[in-house]
């Protein structure tokens, strides 16, 4: 199954060039005068973008009574950790978290290994059928996940993998996006490196492991983070395959609880949302910096 969500190159966040300060022609362009106004509008927009997350965070600390209160208070009057406690006592939060993490890590590792191998073959080796393979991979980049849903389910059923973690993992182990990314990156590495190693008698596997892969660190980091995010947030396939509670991933658990008898238990739902969103936001904010270096080297924009 191809990625159901759109590929999210968070890489590009850091990729855009820093603003080049231009003082020349100040009066002609007239931007200098508009700036305070723009800051105000952009800040307003940012408040609208970040506001819902803050409201979610505040909501997760409110007792039920306060969540139903009209009008709501701005800050929790009676902050409590009960909602988080319920995640552990009444729901099996650790299991959902474990499932999400195992699935995302396995899929990420799989893509790193398989995509870099094929990417290397497509970029630096020549063999018949190479173009066809690359065209096939590119062709499936656009295919919606919905298209493969039925046959994949039939396949996974017959493999006995419905309602199991392998069933959640296998269909995503080899995605087309990674091949595209790794091929483009490896193509930019000089051929001479590989030729020199061959003349020195290095085996192909050795060349790949100790010459190509270490040079691919920036691309591998990009691919790793994107794959992890996509998998962590993936919904349709886990919803279909994880049929009993002990196999739910976090989004599936949250979606199902948000529809059942807990549908208006917003304290619990906000705590659950925090649990899905905060780890991802933390990773994103921390890795921001690493991306600047990675992208500067790759030139992928």
């Amino acid at each position: 199954m191809t990625t159901t969500t759109r590929p999210e190159p968070l890489a590009v966040v850091a990729a855009t060039e820093p603003p080049r300060p231009r003082r020349r022609g100040r009066a002609t362009v007239g931007e200098a005068t508009a700036q305070p106004w723009i800051y105000v509008v952009l800040t307003g927009g940012l408040v609208l973008l970040v506001g819902p997350f803050l409201w979610m965070l505040l909501g997760s600390f409110r007792p039920d009574r306060e969540l139903k209160q009209v009008p709501p208070s701005w800050l929790p009057q009676d902050p409590t950790l009960d909602n988080y406690r319920t995640l552990f006592t009444e729901l099996d939060f650790p299991t959902f978290f474990f499932n999400s993490a195992v699935v995302a890590i396995a899929i990420t590792l799989g893509n790193l290994v398989f995509c870099s191998m094929l990417g290397y073959a497509l970029a630096k080796l020549s063999f018949p059928g190479k173009r066809v393979i690359f065209a096939l991979v590119l062709g499936t980049l656009m295919v919606p996940g919905l298209v493969t849903l039925v046959p994949l389910f039939v396949l996974v059923s017959n493999l006995g993998m419905v309602n199991s973690l392998p069933g959640l993992i296998f269909p995503f182990l080899a995605g087309p996006f990674g091949v595209f990314l790794m091929r483009q990156f490896i193509q930019s590495l000089p051929d001479e490196l590989i030729q020199a190693a061959r003349i020195d008698g290095a085996g192909e596997w050795r060349i790949f492991l100790s010459i190509i892969l270490p040079l691919c660190k920036p691309a591998l980091a990009t691919l790793g983070i994107l794959t992890f995010l996509t998998s962590w947030n993936n919904f349709l396939w886990p919803l279909v395959v994880a049929q009993s509670e002990e196999k739910y991933t976090l989004p599936v658990a949250l979606a199902i609880y948000s529809r059942g008898e807990n549908s208006s238990n917003y304290g619990l739902l906000m705590a659950g949302s925090v649990a899905i969103i905060i780890p991802v936001l933390a990773v994103f904010l921390i890795l921001q910096r690493h991306f600047v270096q990675g992208i500067a080297m790759t030139g992928i924009k």
Partner: protein
């Protein structure tokens, strides 16, 4: 390789020839693990889905998917005469036609704002606007349902401060879909901001300077310089957003369950429901209709926007 084969020394000449044969083998070995998984779990299912859409495959046939009747175009005919499918297709079109321009317009405005010589907090803004993009749609949809609660929700509370009696957004047949559209624009614009910001770097400042010397105002310059220069970027952003929006599913699944009265039921959601009812071949046919629409729309968009350069 070329430099090696050009070398006239016999010793090195033989080397690439022997290597050639080995290279083919090595190439296949490196390609094999990916291709095996890719053929089984992606290429195979894409083709199988197409074939299944011409059969009467149902839940009961899962163990023997080959022992089914071929029914030709029946599933496709059924889909187009299915009142609910038509409604879902209309809703999906509504979501795309309103959602894509809204998302792109907001993103373009923010990108131009960020590009207008702002030096302080630029990274801060960029990261802030990107935040929702990395978050789970399911979680975001749950949070927005909370924001849009009719009485205790923050949106209606804020509207109350300015004297507006906020409606019950997600229970209204007219307002539920716009609510989902605004939420999607909110979540996805950050991605386009980043894409557009990169595209804006291509527009040479000299052109703006020359135009303003000739007396062109800010709007004219934006309209006649920035927009045409950004055509490829806008095209890319438009296609990616549209492909995503055509498949929208999580938003109604969590926020409205397709209601009220199927007004937020999307094609993807209806396909999922039919799959859930065990109508496998019917679901496969509807998924293929969506796939074909995505392919056509993408091709048309490239034609319209890409050609003139």
């Amino acid at each position: 390789m070329a430099s090696l084969t050009a070398n006239p020394t016999p010793g090195t000449r033989r080397r690439p020839n022997r290597w050639r044969r080995r290279e083919v083998l090595v190439g296949y070995l490196f390609a094999l693990p990916f291709l095996a998984l890719f053929v089984v779990f992606t290429v195979g299912p894409v083709l199988a889905s197409f074939l299944m859409s011409f059969t009467d495959l149902r839940t009961s046939d899962v163990r023997s998917p080959l022992a089914v009747e071929v029914v030709g175009l029946t599933n496709y005919a059924d889909a187009f005469s299915d009142e609910t499918f038509r409604k879902a297709a209309f809703n999906t079109a509504y979501f795309v036609v309103a959602g894509v321009p809204l998302t792109m317009g907001l993103a373009l405005a923010v990108a131009v704002g960020l590009n207008s010589g702002i030096t302080r907090f630029k990274t801060f803004f960029r990261v802030g606007y990107y935040l929702p993009v990395v978050t789970s749609i399911v979680a975001v949809a749950v949070v927005w349902r909370f924001l849009l609660e009719p009485d205790s929700g923050i949106v209606n509370t804020l509207l109350g401060y300015v004297g507006v009696d906020g409606p019950s957004w997600l229970n209204s047949t007219t307002l539920a879909m716009p609510s989902l559209i605004v939420m999607s624009a909110w979540r996805n614009m950050g991605y386009l901001v980043v894409i557009f910001l990169a595209g804006l770097q291509i527009v040479p400042t000299e052109m703006h300077e020359a135009a303003s010397i000739d007396g062109a105002g800010a709007w004219k310059r934006f309209r006649h310089i920035t927009l045409p220069m950004m055509r490829p970027t806008l095209l890319f952003g438009g296609v990616v957003t549209m492909i995503g929006y055509l498949q929208f599913f999580e938003e109604p699944f969590v926020m409205t369950q397709g209601g009220p009265l199927d007004t937020t039921l999307s094609t993807a959601y209806y396909t999922y429901n039919q799959f859930g009812f065990g109508n496998y071949s019917y679901a496969a046919a509807m998924a293929y209709v969506l796939f074909v629409v995505i392919a056509i729309v993408t091709a048309v968009q490239f034609r319209l926007l890409g050609e003139r350069d």
